[in-house]
Amino acid sequence: MSGIERLGQRQARRRLWRRRGRELAKYLPLVPFLIFALFPLYFMLVTSLKSDAELYDLKAVPFLIQQGIDFGHYLYLLSTPFLTWMKNSLLVSSLSTAISVCIGILAAYSLARLRFPAANSFGTGIFITYLVPTSLLFLPLSRVIHGFGLSDSKWALVLTYPTFLVPFSTWLLMGYFRTVPKEVEECAMVDGCTRLQALIRIVLPMAIPGIVCAVLFSFTLSWNEFIYALTFTSSSEELTATVGITTELIRGDIYYWGSLMAGAMLGSIPIVLVYVFFMDYYVSGLTAGAVK
């Protein structure tokens, strides 16, 4: 091999390494962010699967499970009303999502397409209520709920969750309805459809991505909701998962860390599953609010 050839080889190798280095440098800044985002979740999972002996052993390495996986904390949940809380969450979230998205579809279509007095100010009103935080209203709302005779009932949640779900889905769907060309709908109406038929047969099928997005977000928001559920329900059989896990699994000074983390894991799983399958909808819904 001549010297020149060897030199060329060395240069090529160096170039390759430099390219690899540059490639690696693109991913390196992601590492701290990924650790920050995922470590708490990983640690919750590890904690929930450890035996108590290892969990409270100060000499053990906390990141790993070294003394075998133990499902005891998950089994313990079965002796608590955990399944009732999950069922309540499912019921409340599904019902309030269904109600809110239906109401949202009607309101959004109306605001995006129909001309009627006060349409603009109502649109602004929807936008403002979208920004009203729940912590501003929970105190007086608890009295309204009492007035309806729904104190300490999960039905109070079905009634109140639409207050933040309707503005959200209306706002989201308005954007989607505006992207359906008006001409398509007008064509259908020239062909003898009424406006309602045009809405159901033409506009809704075209806005399905938006509706899926509204359903996913509404379900997630109601599953994750905390302050209303904490305020309006108190007896164990009426609680939703988020409140039941955070308030009922802690007793006195002894922390049931293992079962607490097991509960937190299981309470998050429905949302994580939905999220994994429909991630793109979450991203588009999230950015629809901020970026038009």
């Binding site: 919750m44 935080p133 999230l286 950015t287």
Partner: protein, 315 residues
């Protein structure tokens, strides 16, 4: 007889048909249909948002206690609050918490968005992973952090001690005033960062590549491209995200409630947690309503600028 009856019946049928047609035509009118469609949403917001809000206004002007109607006391609740040391501490906390959290989320969110905006393999996976803390129930995620900050078994302290950074047993995160505030800010940043990053990423993607190409032919470096193209083009998105996050960070409840309960010594109380403690747990409805209403000026501020931005966009 039978004939007239039949005729009457058809006549009635015709009348009913005509009436139905009229009703149908009435609802087919754009304005009527528009208002009918909006009515359910309007009703919900009237009864469950506007009415409770007015009730909060009213309660805040009375000395109402649970189970006892209050009498009008004017602005006395607000005056008393502003002289109360716990409330003044809460006011300070709210601004420190919101300021620090929003600033951290903005800076880190921009960094993360820029990182994700490169030509990466498995971009979908990274984006999905980064968004997770925002998707899972916030109260349950905070439970995990609570355990990580535990006074005895804190994994954070374990790591710091084994890296030789602090002396064992390490700081008591939730037991010290300053550290508790830092912990609460950290958890809020963890939770809110994905929203900032993903929104800004969408903003970055929307910047036309030609701008960068033109800048490159003019000999612009990386830094000046960022300063003169990326940042100005990102400003509208940045403004909306920051405004949005300001109101929802200021009104945060579950992070403080689960992690510190407002303590130690009220050093992490926010408006929402203090409202609950005073208004519901102690029963002073009037004072509680007054505390929650301190969120209102922030809401007005955010709504004003959001509407201004939205108007500019549609024009």
């Amino acid at each position: 007889m039978a004939v007239t009856e039949a005729r009457a019946r058809t006549l009635l049928g015709q009348r009913l048909g005509a009436a139905w047609q009229a009703v149908h035509a009435f609802f087919q009118r754009e304005a009527v249909m528009g208002m009918t469609f909006v009515a359910p949403a309007f009703l919900i917001l009237l009864v469950l948002v506007a009415y409770p809000f007015c009730m909060a206004l009213y309660l805040s002007l009375t000395d109402a206690f649970v189970g006892r109607p209050g009498k009008f006391v004017g602005l006395r609740n607000f005056v008393a609050l502003l002289q109360d040391s716990t409330f003044r501490q809460t006011l300070r906390n709210a601004f420190v918490f919101t300021g620090a959290s929003v600033a951290l989320k903005t800076v880190l969110g921009l960094m993360l968005a820029l990182t994700l905006n490169q030509n990466l393999k498995c971009k979908r996976f990274f984006r999905g992973a980064v968004l997770l803390p925002w998707v899972i129930p916030s109260a349950l995620g905070v439970l995990g952090w609570w355990w990580m900050f535990d006074s005895l078994y804190s994994v954070i302290n374990w790591t710091l001690v084994h890296l030789g950074l602090v002396a064992p047993p390490g700081p008591n995160w939730l037991g010290r005033k300053d550290l508790a505030m830092i912990a609460v800010i950290m958890v809020n940043t963890w939770r809110g960062l994905p929203f900032f990053a993903i929104s800004m990423l969408a903003g970055l993607v929307a910047i036309p590549q030609e701008l960068y190409e033109a800048a490159a032919t003019d000999g612009a470096g990386k830094l000046s491209k960022f300063w003169y193209i990326t940042l100005p083009m990102l400003k509208p998105v940045l403004a909306i995200v920051v405004l949005f996050s300001t109101i929802f960070t200021m009104s945060n409840f579950e992070i403080v409630y689960v992690l510190t309960g407002g303590g130690p010594m009220n050093s992490t109380h926010l408006f929402a947690t203090l409202t609950r403690q005073v208004g519901l747990e102690s029963g002073y409805l009037g004072t509680g309503a007054a505390i929650s209403l301190f969120l209102f000026p922030v809401l007005v501020f955010v709504v004003y600028f959001q509407l201004k931005l939205a108007r500019r966009e549609t024009l």
